[in-house]
Point group: C2
Chain length 390, copies 2
């Protein structure tokens, strides 16, 4: 098994040597003369878990800056959808590559995606060495044969990387997927032990329409259909009441909070206090770069923390430590990936942060500097699955 020694790196304020064996942390206090295949000089850097981005549309990085500052309806119908209709498989490939390169450069080693022509995105993930949960998107408007092809792909798929890529079942949203299709998606996910990735309660209109059509809010409607469970990752979850927060927590649903996208589109703002009180697992997603407009989890983490404080009027809500855990470990746990912390035995996904970067100085509190002050210029190396990918 390949071995890597990260020398003289700061871990919890102490300088140490970290041995990575294969794709896992083997020894967090290794002798400096350990014989290894590769050595990485970590002098002047601190090691931290990398980011887990739980809601993306990677290929939409091609639409970064294409349409901003307009109402959701106009944005979608006049700009985004017409653009997407013209996208080829090669566009998806190029967009995914742009996204993956940006994610690595900003310290992210995992993303949960929802888009089409997924083989292109899978190829890019394989090539660049990061992790992904690639959603197979289901919408009502697809033909029966298209839906069958997708189900076949789920059944027969083998991860070409042997562990870095999983498929997820991605019924798009309550306004694009019928009850029958939602139930079918939930069945398939149960049968193959897969995660479900869905947009949920993103806008007021979604809630109003769902109540008009089904007599229930989106959360209650999906719960009634038996869709909600610990394998569900629900993106946005902006418009919910206290009881819905409790339903989500009881079912073990994970929320993918997308602060930049929600704020920019004026969709509303996630009520973190409510979800935290209910005991719901919150993670962070950037959403696609056409709404957010980057895939920078460090920035999204600061937005999440400051938005929580601003919305609640409570400056103690979502501390730097909380925001950091939400953006790293919580995301890994939601997808059952044994990473998100620098611990012996964990998968070696990590960021080396340059402590000499001007935004990291002085260092009264490393996590505070990382969450509230840093930017990607402070990242010196990124590790995923035991390999140096930046």
């Amino acid at each position: 098994m390949n071995t890597l020694l990260i020398k003289n790196v700061l871990l919890s304020g102490r300088k140490t040597n970290i041995l990575v064996k294969g794709n896992r942390f083997e020894n967090l206090d290794a002798p400096s003369d350990t014989v290894v295949d590769n050595v990485l000089d970590g002098e002047g850097t601190a090691i931290l878990p990398s980011f887990f981005n739980t809601h993306t549309h990677a290929a939409m990085s091609l639409l970064r800056g294409y349409a901003d500052d307009m109402p959701l309806d106009k944005w979608l119908t006049e700009y985004i959808w017409p653009f997407e209709n013209k996208m080829t498989a090669l566009d998806i490939r190029n967009g995914s590559e742009l996204a993956v390169r940006e994610m690595i450069a900003s310290g992210t080693t995992f993303f949960s995606d929802m888009y089409f022509d997924i083989q292109e995105t899978i190829d890019i993930v394989q090539k660049y060495g990061i992790r992904a949960a690639i959603g197979i998107t289901f919408v009502e408007s697809h033909s029966k044969s298209e839906q069958k092809d997708k189900l076949d792909m789920l059944e027969n798929w083998v991860d070409p990387t042997g562990g870095r890529i999983m498929l997820t079942v991605a019924p798009h949203a309550v306004y694009t997927v019928s009850s029958e299709l939602f139930v079918k998606c939930a069945d398939v996910a149960r049968q193959h032990n897969l995660k479900i990735h869905v947009h949920l309660s993103e806008t007021e209109k979604e809630v109003t329409d769902c109540k008009a059509q089904h007599g229930l809010t989106p959360v209650r409607y999906l719960d009634n259909l038996g869709v909600l469970g610990p394998n569900v990752i629900a993106a946005h979850v902006v418009h919910i009441d206290e009881e819905e927060a409790e339903i989500l927590a009881e079912r073990g649903v994970t929320v993918a909070h997308c602060p930049c996208s929600n704020m920019k589109l004026s969709s509303g703002h996630l009520n973190y206090a409510l979800l935290e009180k209910a005991g719901c697992r919150v993670t962070i997603g950037t959403d696609g770069a056409c709404s957010s407009n980057n895939l920078d989890m460090r920035e999204a983490m600061k937005f999440a923390a400051l938005l929580a404080k601003d919305r609640s009027g409570n400056p103690q809500l979502m501390s730097a430590e909380d925001a950091f855990r939400i953006a790293t470990r919580n995301g890994a746990e939601a997808f059952g990936i044994d990473a998100g912390a620098i611990e012996k035995g964990k998968l070696a996904d990590a960021v080396l942060v340059d402590m000499n970067n001007i935004k990291m100085q002085p260092c009264h509190n490393l996590i505070s500097n990382w969450v509230y002050s840093a930017d990607s210029s402070a990242i010196s190396h990124v590790l995923c699955d035991g390999k140096i990918i930046l």
Copy 2:
């Protein structure tokens, strides 16, 4: 006069050569063989106006990450003030240097500061070649002789840089300065044609206390004292009503909006729609790094735009173009500095942005990418007063 030719740089989407003569843009379409003292290769970059940060406490960068995620009272009384009481002139110098280096690295060429031991900060500004408006802070608790020393300094001061540094009169806030001292400050400012830099309506408590003590809100109280005028830059201005927005606009007061600081301390959120409707000039400040926790105007600009949209429910409010103008030209205008735009005759303060940076691609819209996507890793050069300072 020193001359500089910036070759092959993108300006408004067109590749050109820009001639800087002395400290001003002389020709935006200069021949590529113009004979000059210095040549800067701008290939692959775009030129944009640099940032004008209208509210800082530079030396407080030493307190970055020192105390976070706590109520304002505890934060001030148990952490910030005790720390500040121990700060020496050398600390102020080091903190100012850290701040100035961070500002330059993130594309800022001007800051309006309010702190003490200002000679230390002035020395650093002089050394690093940027611009600043250095506030002479007035608080009631200073002795009469201290106040007199400060007034003397204002009267006798000569800018050692011959144009990059101005002093401002900085009565701290309505809760730390008496009516008499406010009136004296306003008189001195009028007499010497100086700007006034003041904290205003930052918290609900400030408003409640001011009404209890003076029977008026802070804006109305200062207006009654005759303090408000076009020379006033008021930081925060979070808690105001419609009539107060109109008073501020009528008097020509500039607002220094500090979105990150306000959100992190849960002080409330500036009502941009109200100020815009009233016709009030809004600019952006980072506040000190102990609340914001960096001095990154690009990040503050994105926070300002997204906060405006989130607070108003209107995604069209504060477009990327608006946010960019607010963070650049508006700040320059507020301080009477003939910069903030890449135009013939303007002072040559600018940023060269690396168009190959992953966050700047693709480029459907340069300003949108700069406001919503970029970070400091995209900055290749910074110019201030005609000189390359990064």
